[in-house]
Structure formats: C-alpha cells, structure tokens
Symmetry: C2
Subunit: 255 residues, 2 copies
C-alpha cells in the first residue's frame, strides 16, 4: 500500500518502521525536521515537513500526533488533500472516530496497543492492533494492520477508550511504580537492577494466573504493622506516601 504518516513521535516512528519493513511505500510528514531523524535513517522511507508536499494518491493517511493536536492536523490535511475518497485514520486510543467522521467519508482508527520508545526496537508481530472504520475503511485498515501483526481486533470507540485506560494502569502506572522504586533505592545507594528478578517473576505470574489471585505483600495480608511502618518511612515523600496508602487500601478492597 501507499501510506502517509502524519507525525514523527514514538508511535508514528515505530509504525513507519513496521510498515516500511513489510514493503509498504511510506512518506512521513512532521512539522519540523528534527523529529524526522529516525525516520530519515530508514531505508525506503520518504519524509517532508510540508503538508502540501505529501503524495495526493496514498491509500491511507495515518494521523499519529498528540491527541490535542489531532483536530488541527485533520483540518489542515483536508485543506491540502482535495479528494474525498482517501482513507484517513488516527492512531489514538482515547480519541473517538467522530473527530475524523465530520470531515472525511472514509475514516477510521488503527490503535496499536503498545508502549513505544523511539530507541527500543519492537517485535511488531506481537502488537495488538484495534481497528475501527467507516465507509470501507475498516477492511483496508484491517489489511494494513494484518500486514505487520498477528493480533488484529475490531473495537469501537468506547471499547478502545476502555482499552486505553486499562493500558495506562497496566503499562504507564506500572512503569511509574518502577520509577518510584528506583528513586527509593537510589537514596539508599542500591542499584535498581537488584529488583529485576522480582519484576520478572511478577510478570511471569501474571502470564499464568489472574493478577487478583497472584497478589502478595503486606496489604493483601492486612499486615498493618508493616504498612504503618512503610507509611512512616515515606513521610518525606507526601505523594508517594499517599500512593502507598491508596494502593494498599484498594488491594484490601479487591480481596
């Protein structure tokens, strides 16, 4: 397929890499040249900082920008495109299809549920893609996702928002718990890597049992002596202390 990707952030850069990798003809647009560094290092990937220089005959235009910039970029794209039969899709978990529906007949969403950091290579075949589409877009976006991944699903805007918020807990907040752990350890001059076997086992467990079954620690044992001591130890970190109290309370509530 002939694709245009609008944006050059973490998601856009990885999608460009994935799609170029399976032989699609990809052009990436970004507002400034700096963001295009990684894209420009890809073989057979075109790039531009001029929206009006994008090919007019692409099969799919994929808008992958900050959620709060999506509306403006969609409007600008409509301005330069001058055709109504192109498929326009965005990649955002929490943005309804509506933002494109008001402007384009063939519109959709291609949401890759993964954590993307520019410098960390990924196995694209494992990424779950969630597709939504109107006016024939669903079928084309499905084919596009299937060209890189074995895990393609249809999900409407409400389901996708639910997936997104669930992924904030299962990924972004999990990573932040690691970051808090790292900070606590660094103050005692202990390197974070001592936590890795524990983290690996935590994740190995969740592959074979429900997280609610696999819960361990002072909160699920309702060991208030330890919890009170931990809360005292966090007295100079009021937000982390409050996080400790709330998560512990909620672990007890989930029993």
């Amino acid at each position: 397929m002939k694709l245009c990707i609008l944006g050059a952030g973490n998601v856009a850069t990885h999608l460009a890499t994935a799609f170029v990798g399976v032989g699609h003809d990809v052009t990436v647009w970004n507002r400034n040249e700096a963001g295009l560094d990684m894209v420009n290092s890809l073989h057979n990937c075109h790039s531009t900082t001029r929206l009006d220089f994008l090919p007019k005959d692409a099969d799919v235009y994929l808008i992958s920008v900050r959620d709060d910039a999506l509306n403006d970029i969609a409007e600008a794209l409509r301005g330069v495109l001058g055709r109504t039969d192109a498929i326009i899709a965005h990649t955002a978990g929490s943005v309804a299809l509506h933002v494109l529906e008001t402007r384009f007949t063939h519109c959709g969403v291609l949401y890759p549920m993964q954590t993307f950091s520019k410098t960390k290579p990924l196995d694209y075949s494992a990424i779950p893609f969630f597709i939504e589409g109107k006016g024939g877009a669903e079928r084309v976006l499905w084919r596009l996702a299937e060209s890189v991944s074995a895990n393609v699903y249809v999900a409407d805007s409400h389901q996708r928002k639910t997936l997104h918020i669930a992924s904030v807990f299962a990924c972004n907040f999990v990573n932040h718990c690691f970051a808090i752990s790292e900070r606590i350890l660094s103050e005692a001059n202990v390197p974070f890597r001592v936590m890795l076997p524990l983290i690996q086992e935590t994740i190995a467990k969740v592959q074979i049992m429900s997280p609610s079954q696999g819960q361990t620690g002072p909160a699920v044992r309702e060991d208030h002596t330890i919890m009170d001591e931990h809360i005292r130890m966090l007295c100079d970190k009021p937000i982390e202390q409050e996080i400790y109290k709330l998560l512990s309370q909620n672990i007890i509530n989930y029993k």
Copy 2:
C-alpha cells in the same frame, strides 16, 4: 545443613522446597496440619505441628511467619530450645534484627526478595537473598543462601527495610495495577490477556533502560485532555480515580 523452618506460608514453603532441593535436612513446623500440605508432598522433608518436637540440634532455625506473629514465635522457640548456640534467623524484609537480638546470641536475617505464591514453581537460583547476622550467624546464613542462589548480598536492617518498601512498589503495587486493569477490562467484556504483549514490552524496557527514561503515556506527555477524560470515565470508581490522579501527577513531578 540441618534446618528447621517455623511457618508454612508462601515464603516458608518455597524456602523448604529450595533447601530440600539442594540436599539440606529440613523440618518444618506449623501451628496447624492444614498449612503443611505442600511441605508434606516434598520428598525428604519432615514436618510437625508441635514446637517441642522440633530437632534440638539443627544448625539454623528459620522463622518465616507473619511479621506480627514473629515476636511470639521467637519467644516460644526460646522456651523449647534450651540451648544458646543455635542460629536463629527470620525472613522478613521489614522487621529489624533487634526482635531476635534480645533473645538469641547467634541471630540473623535471611530475606529472599521475591514474590512467592505457593502453587507457582520458582527458579531459586535467581532470587536475591539479603543477609544480616550477629555472633557468627552472618557467615552461616550466607553459606545457606549461597547453596541455592547466585545472588547473595549483605544488608543491614535499614537497607533491608528500604529494599522491602521498594519491592512493594516494584512488585505488589505493579501487580495491583494489573488487577485494576483487569477489572476495568472485565466490565467491557475484554479478557485481560490482550494486555500481555504490552506488559511484556513494559518489562523488557525496564531491563535495558531506567524506568524514569522509559515512561510513556498521557501523563508524561502532559496531555490533560486525555487525562481529564480518563478521570471522568473513572467517576464510579472513586479510589481508582484518585490513584489515577496521584500517579499521573507524580509522573509529571518526576520529569
């Protein structure tokens, strides 16, 4: 070595399994017979529900009970033992050596920093053990830990408490974030297993970069439109909503 383990919870049961596995002579005591089921299924592991039936000539007595029961069990053990040259150690992350020091000359701590569920087998060689000891106990406990694991460290009571609180964030709270994610998805009839590729990548990243560098998601992008919508979507879950707000705020604070 000849070992007695007092307790038959998750930690005690796994330590018995590990120590029997490398050829130590292990007897496990537990208050009631029911808790000894797993231990009794081990080859060459003895068990009893009578504290006064424990061998009097063991090299190490390892107390692995709820933190708030530790004091009582230590006192009862002193009553039945009738010798002062035995090494008595506990396995608790957040309990100071002091609780044993007042009663026993040769005392210590052997803290295995891992998440233990009785039914999930473990690779004991990867578990970090943190050792503290007085009166020759440190050397013996080090040898004991080294007989099963390649990761043995010395840590005093303060360092161990720091490790414990850091592990609550890196393991227990991480698992609870998975449990919240599971609950949110279940209400939309989405199975939690769709999250597994995302979770695997989250953990793969933390092996190669600092969690503070690897942070992704709406909070680190300061995308308040999305965060506000997620907070609205959690209106019927006030504690999860508060957790969302606090963790997001702290992700921004850590930038």
